[in-house]
């Protein structure tokens, strides 16, 4: 679905922000892209969606090489939700905002309406269709940006800190939508500082450290490797740290921890 090979990038006149970045992502995967501020995460997103072109190496998305493919063609395949929804909202109503993408696709009017209707329903925005997007609270603005992307029906989704500023209700709606997209065979890449969120959703962690790929592995494997988490400046989720502090088998979720702790206690009492 998506393949980066030996990718390097520098801003004009600057040093390399990214170098030798290679990875691939398949349909149905949820990749968490982690790393400290300034590690090159947002730059990598802008390379993947074709807004910037690699200085060296190549990125191929759904068979298209981003270097020589116009951005509007790439954007049919990859949808991006940026950190600040205000930066990608420019229509006067929520409905028009979500319709903007489909209107530029070669699909029938009925199909457009169906997609907009569905995207608004999934993001629980149907009752706000006639509101100005910027009159909505922070969480709903984020969902307007997400609905606009869903309505274009992309094969890959790039989400930059989508959980930030959302309360548990909104976060759980976001998680539901991400899981549905995953099951529908989309490839999802999430830039995320919230490791609890990563632990719940990601199938793989890609870590960037000083512009290079420092890890590409399963979340549990990553979180239990202190050298790798330190290089990416992330703190493993509390549950992983707790299971390690108690010398139990590493757990990602509260349920897994409870099971491991109870099993360990059982064993201890039998020995006594």
């Amino acid at each position: 679905m998506l393949k980066a090979e030996g990718v390097a990038y520098h801003y004009p006149g600057g040093a390399d922000v990214l170098s030798e970045v290679s990875f691939s992502a398949s349909a149905g995967e949820v990749l968490a892209l982690v790393g400290r501020n300034g590690a090159g995460k947002s730059t990598l997103l802008r390379l993947l969606n074709g807004l910037r072109k690699p200085t060296r190496g190549s990125i191929v998305v759904d068979g298209m090489n981003t270097t020589d493919t116009p951005v509007h063609l790439i954007s049919r395949v990859i949808g991006t939700v940026f950190q600040a929804p205000e930066q990608q909202i420019f229509n006067a109503t929520v409905h028009d905002e979500v319709m903007f993408g489909p209107r530029n696709l070669p699909i029938s009017a009925e199909e457009r309406d169906r997609r907009v209707h569905e995207a608004l329903a999934r993001t629980k925005l149907a009752e706000f269709a006639k509101h100005h997007p910027l009159d909505l609270d922070q969480a709903r603005r984020r969902f307007v940006a997400l609905a606009s992307v869903l309505a274009t029906g992309p094969s890959a989704l790039l989400l930059d800190e989508p959980q930030r500023g959302l309360d548990a209700r909104s976060r759980s709606l976001l998680e539901t939508i991400i899981r549905q997209e995953q099951q529908a065979g989309r490839c999802i890449i999430i830039v995320c500082h919230d490791m609890e969120f990563v632990a719940r959703l990601a199938t793989r962690v890609i870590a960037l450290s000083e512009g290079r790929l420092s890890a590409d592995m399963a979340p549990l494997q990553f979180f239990t490797n202190p050298a790798l988490t330190a290089a990416a400046s992330v703190e493993a989720p509390d549950i992983v740290r707790l299971s390690q502090a108690l010398l139990l088998p590493p757990s990602l979720t509260p349920a897994a921890f409870a099971e491991a702790w109870l099993a360990d206690r059982q064993e201890t009492s039998t020995q006594v």
Binding site: D238, R241, L242, A258
Partner: protein, 282 residues
């Protein structure tokens, strides 16, 4: 006398706007460290503005109920006394820079320069605020060239230098990466004990780090008020924040009937290690 006394406050924006705060009552004593928690659209920022006395006087007078600071309703205060009593630090650090100070130092002394203090007093206060917020190495920098975290520390220094009785913080770490967040929370925690701190947030971590009393705001009203471990188990709180993962694990273990003793539910990583590690492992 309470530092802040909110009595039956009902308030909406504009004459026809829907009520954002609905018959709200809250009393805050001097020296308290309080977190007011609420989800998206619960009325947090509006309440924060009320506590800081930040609304225009006609708007305050048009509302029902009142907010008293040290026994006197906000509309009866003059701006300078109010600014020396409660200081507000908002979500977006850049919006709080005055815009006409060319150095961090000038930004910090701008507020007290309007209080009619002696130059010595201003310098002493500025030095104190600079050290507390760890800004010494940045005093000659242009405020607009600082990083978000540095700007937020500057906003807090510019608030502290007014020597207020209370500091209102509206999601001060919302836009921070975890490392900068933890650094700032450490600094907030280390502020003088007699300063009242009122933190508004929708994340539990900052609140657990700073506050001893939690107030839960939902749909413009207070639904829970008490100790952190009590309030976060309130159904509305679970709905808003979810439970900390370690608390969730503890609840699962309690369901199995194997919970160690009558111990309190752990809310933080350290509490969980103490609780679950206290049981002999081998």
């Amino acid at each position: 006398m309470a530092l802040i006394d909110i009595k039956n406050l009902t308030f909406g924006y504009g004459a026809k706007g829907p009520a954002v705060l609905k018959g709200l009552n809250l009393s805050i004593e001097s020296g308290e460290r309080l977190a007011i928690l609420g989800g998206n659209g619960s009325g947090k920022t509006t309440l924060a503005h009320w506590i800081a006395g930040w609304l225009p006087r006609p708007a305050m007078e048009a509302s029902q109920g009142e907010v008293l600071a040290r026994g006197k309703a906000w509309p009866e205060w003059n701006a300078l006394d109010r600014a020396a009593t409660v200081q507000f630090v908002g979500q977006i650090p850049m919006q709080q820079l005055s815009g006409f100070a060319f150095t961090v130092y000038d930004e910090i002394v701008f507020g007290p320069g309007n209080l009619g203090l002696s130059a010595d007093e201003i310098r002493t206060r500025a030095d104190w605020a600079i050290d507390i917020c760890n800004l010494r190495h940045l005093v000659y920098r242009d405020p607009f060239t600082l990083s978000g975290g540095e700007q937020q520390r500057l906003s807090i220094a510019a608030a502290l230098v007014m020597n207020p009785k209370a500091l209102v913080l509206d999601e001060p770490t919302g836009n921070f990466d975890p490392e900068s967040r933890d650094n700032l929370l450490e600094q907030i925690k280390g502020l003088p004990r007699d300063l009242t701190i009122i933190l508004f947030d929708m994340a539990l971590k900052p609140a657990l780090a700073v506050a001893e009393r939690f107030v839960l705001l939902d749909d413009g009203g207070i639904v829970a008020d008490g100790l952190p471990e009590e309030v976060i188990q309130h159904p509305a709180a679970i709905d808003m924040f979810g439970l900390p993962a370690v608390t969730e694990a503890a609840l699962l273990i309690r369901e199995s009937g194997k919970f160690p003793g009558k111990a309190r539910l752990p809310l933080t990583f350290d509490q969980a290690v103490r609780l679950f590690g206290g049981v002999p492992a081998c």
